[in-house]
């Protein structure tokens, strides 16, 4: 059977680990890992675990659930307004979803739950049916779960035309067709773009081709890296200390492998958590035996005569004998296939409104093209309407649901996507969980618990309001901070509460200067009269 746990919801109550201990495991205080493809003999225990979950975060394959507790109601007005063809579209329209991962699957499920009975095509570049990625950098690398056993459970029978193993290569908006790598074209009435991101490779192509140099994004990547780690390499080099890099380093230490993490910035997780909290994540690494080198770049990777990676040269002048180098330098949005389509797509992703409708290059909103998940960049009313790309698991789910709902809803029935962003990471037995957007903050204060014990809660502020909270092994309290973020509560918080630390004064959060996501591309505007004025993208990337 298959299962997935929504770890965005999980508060670490461990009820599942009590009731099905062979399937669910708690590491440290509250970090949950699990077997996503447990044996059928575990079914009763897993049903017990799923029923007992206080936040109902466990989803099983083909769970016999009653139909959606709120059956879709279709008011006559909504039907008439729905895309101008209303009920007809919902019954017999054509929806194409490009991208067959978490977002694409969840959107397809939601479309069916909302009563869409027309044709539904899911196009995926990978040959696999949708699978879950978070276990790849944790249970799979540790050898507890096989990479192929990560397929996502299905909430329902989908009746989908799957087009897997073929990439979308172009979009013809005028003809309403998606072009595929095999030369075929698929027509649509409405389109959902959910092409996500891919891992940024090591920039030197020859070095990137060495055996032992790899990225971690796909099932294949995880399978390969697992094999390499199982071969007990002399040392693993992790290039970049974002979440993937830190989690890889954590598994290496769990396996007793020597690992060096090279991070160009002053601390691990600096972009996500800022320098102050990132430094604590760095201490965690060092306590667990990671050779952490911050402010250091990898200058070159060296292979032996057989093309096997053998050495890395660092900007601090040292060289390391390494057999494996994991490039963990962040992600590149899969938006190239939309070049020339007329959509506002580029290195920043695909811009859309808060209801997931894509913008065209002029900044006009489209009617029938939607975008969700890692590939999207949407305005966040809570954060000054900044356009933010939120590459989190929970965002893929919530945005997919809003996009799917809006695709089959009339104008007055549409929803804005206003979910507060959340993410989690498990490293060195510690669960790091975040609500809000730490990276917009200017200050941070430790408000609960103890940094020394690695059990604390930090609140982030921007110009006197709370914008995020991050917990290390304290995630049961985060639920309290979410409404404070939503309501722009004052920062620093001054209320009295339990477990107050001795020192709660805010300090600068230490985020790197915001990178300009549009530095690779420029928009130029042409035309004089209002009816002529048009924007155009020019790609000025240095090759």
């Amino acid at each position: 059977m298959r299962l997935v746990v929504d770890l965005t919801k999980c508060q670490g109550y461990a009820q599942c680990a009590f009731l099905a201990p062979d399937v669910f495991t708690i590491q440290g205080d509250e970090a949950l890992t699990y077997d996503p493809a447990p044996d059928e003999v575990q079914r009763t225990r897993i049903r017990r675990a799923a029923a007992a979950c206080p936040v109902q975060a466990i989803r099983l394959d083909q769970l016999e659930e009653p139909e959606s507790s709120q059956p879709p109601t279709e008011t006559p007005g909504a039907a008439a307004a729905s895309g101008g063809n209303g009920g007809t579209f919902k019954r017999s329209g054509r929806i194409v979803v490009v991208g067959a991962s978490l977002t694409g699957l969840r959107a397809a499920e939601r479309l069916r739950e909302e009563g869409f009975t027309g044709s539904l095509t899911l196009i995926g570049e990978e040959t696999h049916e949708p699978y879950d990625r978070p276990p790849l950098s944790k249970q799979v690398l540790a050898g507890a779960v096989r990479s192929e056993d990560t397929s996502l459970p299905r909430r329902r029978a989908l009746d989908v035309d799957w087009r897997l193993g073929v990439a979308a290569t172009g979009l013809d908006l005028a003809a309403r067709q998606v072009e595929l790598a095999d030369g075929s074209r698929i027509g649509f009435d409405k389109l959902l773009i959910a092409t996500g991101v891919r891992a940024r490779s090591w920039p030197n192509a020859a070095e990137a081709a060495l055996v032992g140099v790899l990225t971690l994004r796909t099932r294949e990547d995880a399978g390969t890296l697992r094999k390499l780690l199982a071969g007990r390499p002399r040392r693993v080099l992790v290039i970049g200390a974002g979440f993937i890099g830190c989690e890889v380093a954590s598994v290496c230490r769990e396996l007793g492998l020597s690992v060096t993490v090279a991070e160009a910035g002053p601390a691990p997780l600096g972009a996500a958590l800022g320098g102050v909290i990132g430094a604590i994540a760095g201490e965690l690494q060092e306590e667990n035996g990671v050779d952490l080198r911050c402010g250091v770049r990898v200058v070159s990777l060296e292979g032996d005569a057989t093309g096997q990676l053998c050495r890395a040269h660092l900007s601090d002048g040292t060289a390391l004998d390494v057999d494996v180098a994991v490039t963990a330098l962040g992600a590149v949005r899969n938006a190239e296939w939309l070049a020339g389509s007329g959509l506002a797509s580029g290195p920043w992703g695909v811009a859309c409104d808060a209801g997931c409708r894509a913008f065209d290059v002029n900044g006009l909103v489209t009617d029938d093209v939607f975008v969700a998940g890692d590939a999207s960049r949407a305005p966040q009313p809570m954060f000054g309407y900044q356009f933010l790309a939120v590459e989190h698991w929970g965002n893929a789910i919530t945005q997919a649901e809003v996009a799917a709902h809006n695709m089959v809803s009339g104008e007055t029935e549409r929803w804005p996507h206003l979910a507060v962003p959340k993410f989690w990471s498990v490293q060195f037995g510690t669960e790091i969980k975040s609500v809000g957007v730490p990276s917009v903050a200017d200050e941070v204060a430790i408000v609960q618990g103890s940094v020394a014990l690695r059990r604390f809660l930090a609140v982030y502020g921007y110009k006197g309001r709370i914008v995020a909270a991050v917990a290390f092994n304290q995630n049961k309290w985060l639920e309290f901070y979410e409404p404070l973020i939503e309501q722009a509560a004052p920062f620093p918080p001054t209320f009295r509460h339990v477990d107050e630390p001795a020192e709660a004064r805010p300090v600068p959060a230490g985020f790197p200067a915001a990178a300009n996501p549009t530095q690779d591309a420029t928009v130029v505007v042409t035309g004089h009269y209002p009816n002529e004025r048009r924007a155009r993208l020019t790609d000025r990337r240095v090759p």
């Binding site: 495991t25 009763t44 049961k476 309290w477």
Partner: protein, 424 residues
């Protein structure tokens, strides 16, 4: 004489059998101030929020209502339970977290993950024996014959309390629990607490000593001998925590099982459904925890700062009572809250509380109730309620029947047509 308030009516023993109409009344004002300056919270969203609110303390020493009760009895320095020193139940982080972790080391994940699941076979065996013992009888008492002996046997075996000791502690526990009745005058309440507490404490001190001298493969032995990374509990904590586990480890489960059997007898179609498909027991126990929870409210929480909630400001220093049983039937949270729907979808409830104080023994209670109620449904022939409502125990807080007489036509073998007493 003035009309009794809704809260007084809830505390009134005359309304023990059905407090739910009064909870409905209570929910009309989500946050209610009582004449003594304490506050009641009765709606789901507000209770859930306060369970996760760090401005709310569980520290019994900070609570004015608990202090008033002690003062009225002319005592000081007494703890949370029946004359116990405070345990993690009535502490705040970081002490709460530390003592709970130390205790959890021997009971559950991450250190001892398989303990509760590993007790399933033994629980099934106990239930099988209890039901076998009903074979020759036409009338049983669900409380005395199933709902009480199962959890008390399980917790005694788990802790390492000798089987014969149950006779000794049962009397003291009954007194201690009666004295948690907020309807009783504080002085009597406190005096009874202290008497029973002294007896219980002496009993547990004796047990702790015995386990230290001759440790066995049980939880108390582990607690008195094992030095984990955070050290061992001080002796006073050991005794208090041992008593907490012993008492909370069975008293609440008795009510869960009794309330469950009563609810099934009142819903014959659901009883039949459980006979036909014992797997229904799994979601059904969650629904019972919502619909007829064994713990009706969480008393003695304290606001550490002014808390604005549901249009009311709870002032710093005020005592709070979270009325879980009212929140569980809040129509703003759950559709058809007054209906018992065993396979209710996405059943999030307050039956075990929430936040850092979520019931320590929840997995044990769930498993015991699933096994007991499945056997109750599948093995008893034609069970009929003798009286509805049955007589209730005094407490409005730990609420359940004192006896639940049921007439039966016989007992099926454990491998009878509908199942073997285990949940599949």
């Amino acid at each position: 004489m003035s009309q009794p308030s809704t809260w007084e009516q809830i505390l009134d023993y005359a309304n023990r059998a059905n407090p739910y109409p009064f909870y409905e009344e209570l929910r009309k004002t989500p946050v209610t101030r009582l004449p003594d300056g304490s506050y009641l919270v009765s709606t789901y969203a507000e209770i859930a929020a306060l369970l996760h609110d760090p401005r709310v303390s569980s520290d019994i020493e900070r609570n004015p209502a608990a202090a008033a009760m002690r003062a009225a009895a002319g005592e000081d320095g007494e703890g949370d339970g029946p004359g116990m020193t405070p345990t993690f139940l009535s502490m705040d982080p970081p002490d709460h977290d530390k003592f709970r972790r130390i205790t959890m080391r021997h009971f559950g994940p991450p250190t001892t993950p398989g303990r509760v699941a590993g007790m399933e076979a033994r629980m099934t065996e106990i239930v099988t024996d209890l039901i076998d013992n009903m074979a020759a009888r036409s009338r049983i008492d669900v409380v005395d014959d199933l709902a009480y002996p199962l959890p008390v046997t399980v917790i005694c075996e788990l802790l390492g309390v000798p089987p014969g000791d149950e006779q000794r502690f049962r009397v003291w526990v009954d007194v201690a629990l009666q004295s948690t009745d907020p309807g009783l005058d504080p002085e009597t309440q406190q005096k009874k607490r202290i008497e029973a507490g002294k007896e219980l404490r002496a009993f547990m001190e004796e047990l702790v000593d015995a386990h230290r001298r001759a440790p066995g493969n049980d939880l108390l032995s582990a607690m008195v001998t094992d030095d984990g990374p955070e050290g061992r509990m001080p002796d006073e904590q050991l005794v208090g925590t041992g008593l907490l586990l012993l008492i909370a480890g069975h008293e609440t489960t008795v009510n869960l099982i009794s309330n469950g059997a009563l609810t099934l007898l009142r819903h014959p179609a659901e009883l039949q459904r459980l006979r036909d498909d014992p797997g229904v027991a799994i979601p059904m126990v969650e629904e019972l925890l919502r619909y007829e929870p064994p713990v009706h409210f969480v008393p003695f929480r304290t606001a550490l700062d002014d808390i604005d909630i549901a249009g009311t400001t709870i002032p710093a220093g005020a005592s709070l009572t979270l009325v879980l049983a009212a929140g569980n039937r809040d129509p703003a949270h759950v559709a058809n809250p007054g209906l018992f729907i065993p396979d209710r979808h996405n059943n999030q409830h307050l039956g075990f509380g929430g936040g850092v104080h979520l019931c320590f023994g929840a997995p044990l209670a769930r498993l015991e109730a699933q096994i007991a109620l499945t056997a109750f449904a599948t093995r008893l022939e034609n069970p009929r309620l003798v009286s509805d409502p049955p007589p209730y125990r005094p407490s409005p807080f730990l609420r359940g029947p004192s006896h639940l007489p049921v007439d039966i036509d016989g007992v099926l073998a454990p491998d009878g047509p509908a199942g073997d007493g285990t949940v599949r």
